[in-house]
Symmetry: C2
Subunit: 399 residues, 2 copies
């Protein structure tokens, strides 16, 4: 059975999101079938303004399946149009700095007056309690304040940022959870709510291993262990050099070690002193790593991975960005598909991470250009005439 319906059919989202956090939240809702209207300032959202390219890739990647409306929220007319749209909407997503929405006259009180059923979902950086409310909530700052930097890198080197924008994306995903929970509650109460998610709170649970290690040992472990196990209790567990790059090998159980030692050509080590238990291997971590490296450096990632996986040893090649883009599986399964963009031609965009048994994913429509759907949206939702819309364009209220 293939079903064309999607879970959020009939739900309308006004997306004031900018850069990564807010836009990713509403992208998830769009993948699930919501009608998402991306509301941008008339000179475009921040991602456009900071790029020489009017349709920059971050915007393309994160804004598929959204209609584009350019709207000047700083004008009285623009603000009234927005509140009229709120009256027709279910969810408003935003990740402005604290207080910006209120200064625009579109805070929670105004939204509730316009529509008591509307849900406001706010992406934030930090909770006020810590006194960090004033720190601009870029991903790098959240990684720094939230401990991700401290636990990434080598013990004898500086803290290292995670190259992925984990705070932005985890914050946005957790915000989508909050918005959908509020939607569920609305079935019972008939009323919306204002939910917010600080990126730091959303990111903290990624530190389960380092926090657990610290709490179990009283903080005697090194904070950063490079590519080794955070608690230095598992070996082999590392990133190993191959002929053509790097790969991970990770023996979680004794059966993995037995299979690995045999594959490496050292079956005698399975029972040897210093190698026969996880504890002893962890104590001889350098020797264990040298044994694995001696084998991996003679092989390509593909050869080594195939040989180890065939024996049930957990491992994986370290793949680069170009390899991800070349992966036909990712392209065809929908995670990173190709789409035809209005002005940039064939581009890549993030597909849906949701797999529903018996259902095809929503086809991907590329990110809108600035104001691409302004006419459609204002006509279909607020019944404005062509003349009204022309006047708003001329007056700079919409783009």
């Amino acid at each position: 059975m293939v079903d064309d319906k999607l879970a959020l059919d009939g739900i309308t989202v006004l997306d004031l999101g900018q850069v990564y956090n807010g836009p990713y939240c509403s992208l998830l809702l769009a993948h699930l079938g919501a009608h998402v209207i991306k509301v941008e300032p008339i000179d475009g959202e921040h991602t456009r303004r900071r790029s020489p390219q009017p349709e920059p890739y971050p915007l393309i990647l994160l804004n598929s399946n959204k209609d584009g409306l350019g709207l000047n929220l700083k004008s009285g007319q623009g603000r009234r149009l927005f509140l009229d749209l709120v009256a027709t909407a279910d969810i408003v997503v935003e990740n402005f700095a604290e207080g910006v929405l209120e200064r625009l006259g579109c805070g929670w009180d105004e939204l509730q007056s316009a529509n008591p059923r509307v849900i406001l979902a706010s992406g934030r950086g930090f909770n006020d309690h810590g006194g960090w409310g004033g720190v601009p909530a870029m991903d790098l700052a959240v990684q720094a304040l939230g401990g991700v930097l401290a636990v990434t890198g080598f013990a004898d080197g500086p803290p290292v940022k995670c190259g992925g924008a984990v705070a932005d994306i985890l914050g946005g995903t957790t915000l989508a959870v909050a918005a959908l929970a509020a939607l569920h509650e609305r079935e019972r109460t008939g009323r919306g709510q204002h939910v917010s998610v600080p990126m730091l709170d959303a990111t903290l649970p990624t530190l389960t291993s380092p926090l657990a290690g610290y709490l179990e040992t009283g903080g005697t472990l090194p904070e950063r262990t490079g590519n080794r196990h955070g608690g230095l209790e598992v070996a082999p567990y590392n990133v190993y050099r191959c002929k053509d790059g790097w790969m991970t090998v990770f023996c979680a159980r004794e059966q993995h070690w037995r299979a690995l030692a045999t594959t490496l050509g050292h079956p005698e080590l399975v029972e040897a002193d210093g190698f026969s238990s996880m504890r002893s291997r962890a104590q001889n971590m350098d020797e264990v790593d040298d044994l694995v490296t001696a084998w991996t450096t003679q092989r390509s990632r593909a050869e080594a991975s195939a040989a180890l996986l065939a024996q049930g040893v957990p491992c994986a090649p370290v793949r680069g960005i170009g390899e991800l883009l070349d992966d036909a599986g990712l392209r065809d399964s929908g995670a990173l598909p190709e789409v035809e963009h209005a002005t940039r031609g064939r581009v890549r965009a993030f597909g849906s991470p949701f797999h529903v048994r018996g259902r095809k994913p929503r086809p991907l429509v590329p990110a809108p250009t600035l104001g691409q759907h302004s006419r459609d949206v204002l006509h279909s939702r607020l019944d404005l005439s062509g003349d009204d819309i022309d006047r708003l364009l001329t007056e700079g209220v919409i783009a």
Copy 2:
């Protein structure tokens, strides 16, 4: 107005999750008010079995507000009890390897027969399409195959894992989005669905900047840029040494640079050749970083951060795990509170990342010991007598 109700009041979740991915998904649902029953094998879930401590910290951190039921799903009686519980539940969460649930006789067909309204939410590692279905889906493997390792670290060094378990936690969070969307759809259709989320798909959007940089330049940028901007287009943007550690400074706009140059005691650089535009600063990145370092190394993180934030320059101290645990804001705001555990005494656990206007978070009840609520659950939900339960304990069907 403070409201004691929670969004998912009345929703029951059976949590077969293990380690981080599944348990974090259902922890989010528990924070939102769902009644979550953690169903563990009678010798405990994997996190207990791999630790010398029967109540290990990862389990405590990720399993608050859940009831604990020990149940042998490999026995016929255990399986029947589980399906009887499914008949009373709304959502089943699991992150076994592909096919395990089916082998236990609790696959989608059996769940649907037991309860056509139930939602099955499955955490996975990779999508089949890429041929990586056989790779054990540990966080490290997903970071390797999914590009997080390749973009983390310095250009002249090896790839580095993110010290946070970003794939596990992002996968689990995205799975919670999927489960709640299915719950929303059930209001309309009356039927459950089987949703699954591969961790790799959930993690890919963290690579927005590296993917965008690659796609815009055709892959000419270095894949890893240490703590510098991924596109090497922003300066200052780095982690700088202080007297007592490290801090980030990130000038996203010209106003930030003006404020920073003045604070550093070099107002002349605001207009100087090689420093007056983002483009020129990016070309002189080493000199710019030297100027910032000369200033930060003379100061503590707290002094330097306070001085820069007072001038509106985005920055943040790099905080270690011990500092996160000592942060009274995190402890009191609910993100990382203290709770009193049944056997371990005062411990820390992850609080709710959800902030709802006018509502207090759900009070945190510490993670259950193995089988702590077996009697309660089987009596209250399946009406089993004390004698029945004693017999099941004796026969090793429950713990």
